[in-house]
Symmetry: C2
Subunit: 207 residues, 2 copies
């Protein structure tokens, strides 16, 4: 009996866990949290339902991990764009566009992260990540006020409005069929309107 697991063992264990998270993410993106039962997820990952509990203490823990991973990627992307080059106003516009475009490219996952009914553990994570989105936007809004590009305002409120607006605008297209947005509008037109609205919302003068 070895006192500790061999590196190969650890690696295989870790690989299984990673595959489990990855496949669970796909299942959630496809059928939503409610339908993503332990059995369905385990089947998708090619292991037995019981084996899930070798990697996570509960379904809620797995769900929370799935959410954190996926949402974390979006926060990282948004963070990079909002801290990139350009004026605060330009960065806000690009941040909205990148965020929305990514959501439209992976609608199922975006809907799961933004709006889909979920168990309390996931709901708590969602609130936390919405706070992070808000904090990122709020920072840039305040930067814009400091440099005189944006009028005086409550950065937190504006940031909340931006994240809420993105979510609301996207949810309908997200919920709809597969093709383009609800009506005949193209994705690019939708994004253009969305960024224009966001800049108005922050009080940036029209282009």
């Amino acid at each position: 009996m070895a006192y500790r697991k061999t590196p190969a063992e650890l690696q295989r264990l870790e690989a299984t866990r990673e595959r489990l998270v990855a496949r669970a993410t796909e299942v959630v993106a496809e059928v939503g949290w409610a339908q993503a039962s332990v059995t369905a997820v385990a089947d998708s990952a090619g292991i037995a339902a019981g084996s899930v509990y070798q990697h996570f203490p509960s379904k809620a823990a797995l769900a929370a991990e799935v959410f954190r991973r996926a949402a974390g990627r979006e926060v990282a992307v948004l963070d990079e764009v909002l801290h990139g080059p350009g004026t605060p106003v330009e960065r806000i516009g690009r941040g909205i566009e990148v965020f929305a475009r990514r959501a439209l490219e992976n609608r199922g996952l975006a809907y799961a992260l933004l709006a889909a009914p979920a168990e309390p553990a996931v709901g708590a994570e969602r609130l936390e990540f919405r706070r992070r989105y808000r904090a990122l936007f709020a920072e840039v809004v305040r930067e814009g006020m400091a440099t005189g590009l944006l009028p005086d305002q409550d950065g937190e409120i504006t940031a909340a409005a931006l994240t809420g607006a993105i979510g609301e605008v996207l949810v309908d297209p997200l919920g709809g069929p597969g093709a383009d947005t609800a009506d005949g509008r193209t994705t690019d037109e939708l994004l253009a309107e969305l960024t224009a609205m966001a800049l108005r919302c922050a009080g940036a003068p029209p282009a």
Copy 2:
């Protein structure tokens, strides 16, 4: 055997049904959809769990009715304000303020209507009512554009942003304890910032 129920019988039956809906609404506002089991709701209404099925064919049907009643009241109030006196810009401001104030006055219910995890039947109703809110705001935004008070824009997008923004701004205060908003801010200050943001969002020139 009577061929039809007497008026008194009908009235008592209707009264029980109404009480059931009313108490179910309270339960949902207090503990959320997930915890509002048939048993809990029936207990609150003072009837047995099985008797619920004399009034509604399923739990989902009862939940949908609860949602429709409550959300319908909010739509009616918003509709009245948005079609009331004043310029389109003034009406948008008042609409936001009334909507938000009512939500803050009945936080539990507002959270249930706007954001709380819910079964699919309720989720569908929620989407439908969000569309109605949007349609109301969109109409006034277009009116504002027609009268030259608001710049050219996609009314639907702006309306979606307004409803999303309200929801996002309110959810945090709604989720929190009971007192005032998250930080030391008073309700009135929050409402003032919210309406200011909404008017910027629609492109109304600053006061």
